[in-house]
């Protein structure tokens, strides 16, 4: 009896561990938030381009596409906004030790994001939604471009904050106050991780939006409706994907080299590389079967030199392995006076199978979506009579870049473990000391239920809007650039 209670208690303690639950909650809510953010950033740009095309050419098809994808953009925007508040509050709610330790530096980019980007974005989105009939055409066009500027600025600040966690720079430790303090905001904002991560993220976001446009267009073209608009949309979306994918690839390569420099353990974990390797031995395995700890490999497909190229940009460079790094970090971070930097289990490597596969899925899913666009553009160059299956493939590429983005973040953040701030503080040290496990369990369940239900609603609304197609718009004469009275009814109902 006593033993059973003891086991139960131990089980409950493990189950109700605030650290584990907080990590799950942060992971789930952040990934969820990051479904909407890239679509907002990407779609805002594409809608702004479509609206610009309308203003420049006066062709109705551009206006109708603007309205269609504008609607999808807004449905999605709402979710990005509301789930974003959770992100900001969570640092204090679940990670209060982290917040008090790094707030002096980490808070600044967040506050700048709010003051510079969020206000801008939130104000001009209202003007865009409700201003169709109230603002002159060109001023109204300016509002959507301003919204985009706001989203991009916001992305930069939050990536700079994230870069501090990956590769802390521009700070000093104040022993007396027991915290990290800002030394140079310039260093925080020009962190090489932020500088490379930023274009990588933006290109990926644009790709996501491009694929949504391709998918929507394919759905209508398969049914032979809205041919004029949807042909334009299909080519526009496909070209967007291809250009964006090239951007993702190039920036991803520089990001990989920065990562090797700043977080060699993460690069080693991406490849499950246990021993140091150089030149041809620094190969990239496309696929491998073996024990997850990498000790025994059963089967693998390898490209020689590629890992060296990804990490160093040259073919004869060397890459450090997990075993050496583990020994190095143990000596460096587990001294007598290193409470904040020595993980309880002494383990400095992240979970290898997660980083290994997340890295591959990120590249593979993104490349697949780009491939569909390339092939699609080629086979539709003369006419758009495609077999049914081809349309279906195009429709179903929609989720690929989204999944690639999500696993990309899984890789970035899981690959950062066991650190919350690399080399400065471990994740287990960052958790809130005063929040009991059951409270975190409650919030985790609440967020899962609310977010799950809203995901269903959001998916339904977006597919409904996409399937409805571009709206009929009966515009009055608007050659003067000012909408006439007749537009009022039509355009004002967008909301």
């Amino acid at each position: 009896m006593g033993r059973a209670t003891f086991v139960l208690e131990r089980y409950m303690n493990e189950f109700l561990d605030p650290l584990t639950l907080s990590r799950w909650q942060f992971g789930l809510t952040t990934l969820y938030h990051f479904i909407f953010v890239p679509l907002t950033i990407g779609m805002c740009l594409l809608v702004a381009i479509l609206q610009t095309a309308w203003v420049k050419t006066g062709k109705m098809k551009y206006l109708r596409l603007t309205r269609l994808f504008g609607k999808i953009f807004l449905i999605n925007f709402a979710m990005g906004v509301v789930t974003g508040i959770v992100q900001e509050f969570q640092f204090g709610m679940n990670w209060s030790n982290y917040s008090r330790f790094v707030g002096d530096i980490f808070g600044a980019p967040l506050a700048m994001e709010g003051l510079i980007a969020f206000f801008f974005e939130a104000t001009f989105i209202g003007l865009w939604i409700f201003g169709w009939d109230k603002l002159p055409k060109k001023i109204h066009l300016m509002t959507i471009w301003f919204v985009w500027l706001g989203t991009v600025a916001s992305a930069y600040f939050i990536l700079a904050a994230n870069a501090f966690m990956q590769n802390p720079d521009g700070f000093t430790i104040n022993e007396e106050r027991g915290r990290a303090e800002l030394e140079s905001i310039g260093a925080v904002l020009t962190n090489p991780v932020a500088v490379t991560q930023f274009p990588h993220t933006i290109f990926a976001a644009v790709m996501f939006a491009g694929v949504v446009i391709v998918s929507t267009a394919a759905w209508h073209l398969r049914r032979g409706q809205y041919l004029d608009e949807m042909r334009t949309a299909l080519r526009f979306g496909a070209w967007t994907n291809i250009i964006a994918f090239m951007g993702v690839g190039l920036t991803g390569h520089s990001l990989g080299m920065v990562m090797t420099e700043t977080q060699p353990m993460k690069m080693a974990a991406a490849e499950a590389l246990y021993e140091n390797a150089s030149g041809a031995d620094a190969s990239f395995s496309v696929f491998s079967l073996g024990t997850p700890d990498g000790a025994h490999e059963i089967f693998s497909i390898r490209i020689p030199y590629l890992l060296s190229f990804l990490s160093n940009g040259t073919f004869d460079g060397s890459v450090e392995g997990i075993r050496d790094l583990q020994a190095e970090y143990t000596a460096q971070y587990c001294g007598a006076d290193s409470l904040l930097t020595c993980p309880a289990d002494g383990q400095f490597a992240p979970i290898i199978w997660v980083t290994y596969w997340a890295f591959r899925w990120m590249i593979g899913l993104g490349a697949l979506a780009a491939l569909v666009s390339v092939v699609g553009l080629w086979i539709t160059r003369k006419n758009m009579d495609l077999p049914d299956w081809a349309w279906r493939v195009a429709i179903w590429t929609a989720p690929l870049p989204m999944l690639a983005s999500l696993v990309g973040w899984v890789f970035t953040e899981m690959g950062r473990q066991p650190w919350i701030v690399f080399g400065v503080m471990t994740t287990e040290q960052g958790v809130s000391p005063g929040v009991p496990g059951w409270a975190v369990l409650v919030s985790l369940l609440v967020f899962t239920i609310v977010y799950g239900a809203l995901a269903v609603v959001e998916f339904k609304l977006i597919t409904k809007a996409a399937k409805e197609g571009p709206p009929e718009i009966a515009l009055g004469a608007d050659a003067d650039g000012k909408p006439g009275e007749a537009d009022h009814q039509q355009l004002a109902t967008v909301y």
Partner: protein, 342 residues
């Protein structure tokens, strides 16, 4: 002025901005079941805040981030301490926010009715709980310093639900409700304007009673403090403004009524902030455990940087937000809502 004190007032001003602006959004949301008799009514009510609720809510996000940057200790202790209360507020804000966008996108009356419920409850819960939270900050909380720096909150959700805290919640609820009703009468014409004014008179009267008791109680709690006169002064301004707003509403001067309510909210909050100063969180266990403004603040360097950022951005923010309100300055009427809109 010390930078730490300056930032105490900047964060305070941002929070005031949030409650004055999103305050009427909450009131408008609360009025939905009372004033919205049909689809057109409800569309009209929501359209009064449609273009601005998002930028109003952004004041909370910016205030939160500024609080994080300027007073990390406060942010860490308060946000982890108010864990479950904040969870409820977050869920309410999430549901309210998506509902504005989703209520008309689906098919069928049931769909819209669900999201209208979310708007109502999403507008009731946040001001109520924020009121409870700020009243508790004024009153003091069971916090103790930790060994390695920082503070820890030793209470639970129930600690916050004491009579004074609940009265603070009720006061905030009633004032924002009245504020929203006056805003509707300011932004609409015809019958809706009259009905909103009528209800504002009733709710406003209740808000005056609750506000007077709450502010009186606040003064009594800090009667021994040498700076209690500032609290008295702010409370007096809030009370006069609230009564003036009621009179102006009665006289049909909606613009003045709205201004009065805005001033009342601002000075009631200022009274709370001044009763806290020079602490951010007073400890109810031992006064020497309290977290002071200086003790919770970021380094000089960070505050200096933030001051420059605020100095350059805030005037711009105020300018383009004012422009938005100017663009949407026209009163709305039922006639402008297209047939069949919901």
């Amino acid at each position: 002025m010390e930078l730490t004190t300056l930032w105490f007032f900047i964060v305070g001003a941002m929070l005031i901005g949030y409650f004055v602006l999103d305050g009427f959004d909450f009131g408008v949301g609360m009025s939905l079941p009372f004033l919205g008799r049909d689809n057109t009514d409800r569309r009209l009510i929501i359209n009064t805040i449609g273009p601005v609720w998002d930028l109003n809510e952004t004041w909370l996000i910016v205030a939160g981030a500024s609080l994080f940057a300027a007073f990390p200790e406060w942010y860490a202790t308060m946000f982890s301490g108010f864990y479950l209360a904040l969870l409820v507020i977050l869920v309410a804000l999430i549901l309210r926010g998506v509902s504005f966008e989703y209520r008309h996108q689906g098919k069928g009356r049931e769909w819209t009715r669900w999201f209208d419920q979310f708007i109502f409850w999403g507008s009731v819960v946040p001001p109520l709980l924020w009121g409870v939270a700020f009243a508790n900050l004024a009153q003091g909380l069971p916090i103790v310093p930790m060994e390695n720096g920082g503070w820890i909150y030793q209470g639970t959700l129930l600690t916050l639900l004491n009579p004074y805290g609940l009265l603070g919640g009720l006061t905030m609820l009633l004032i924002t409700f009245a504020h929203g009703l006056v805003f509707i009468s300011l932004k609409t014409e015809g019958e809706m304007r009259e009905r909103a004014r009528g209800l504002a008179a009733k709710v406003g009267a209740a808000a005056i009673v609750a506000g007077a008791v709450f502010l009186g109680w606040t003064i009594m709690q800090h009667i021994d403090s040498p700076t209690v006169w500032v609290v008295v002064l702010c409370s007096a301004v809030a009370a006069v403004a609230l009564i003036a707003a009621w009179v102006a509403n009665f006289a049909g001067r909606e613009g003045w009524a709205f201004t009065g309510n805005a001033i009342a909210i601002a000075f009631a909050l200022l009274a709370i902030f001044m009763s806290m100063f020079p602490n951010l969180m007073a400890s109810s266990i031992d006064p020497s455990y309290s977290m002071s403004v200086v003790g919770a603040a970021s380094s000089e360097k960070t505050l200096e940087l933030m001051t420059w950022v605020a100095l350059f951005t805030l005037p711009l923010v105020l300018a383009y937000q004012a422009w938005t309100y100017w663009v949407f300055r026209k009163r709305l009427s039922r006639a402008a809502i297209p047939v069949g809109a919901h």
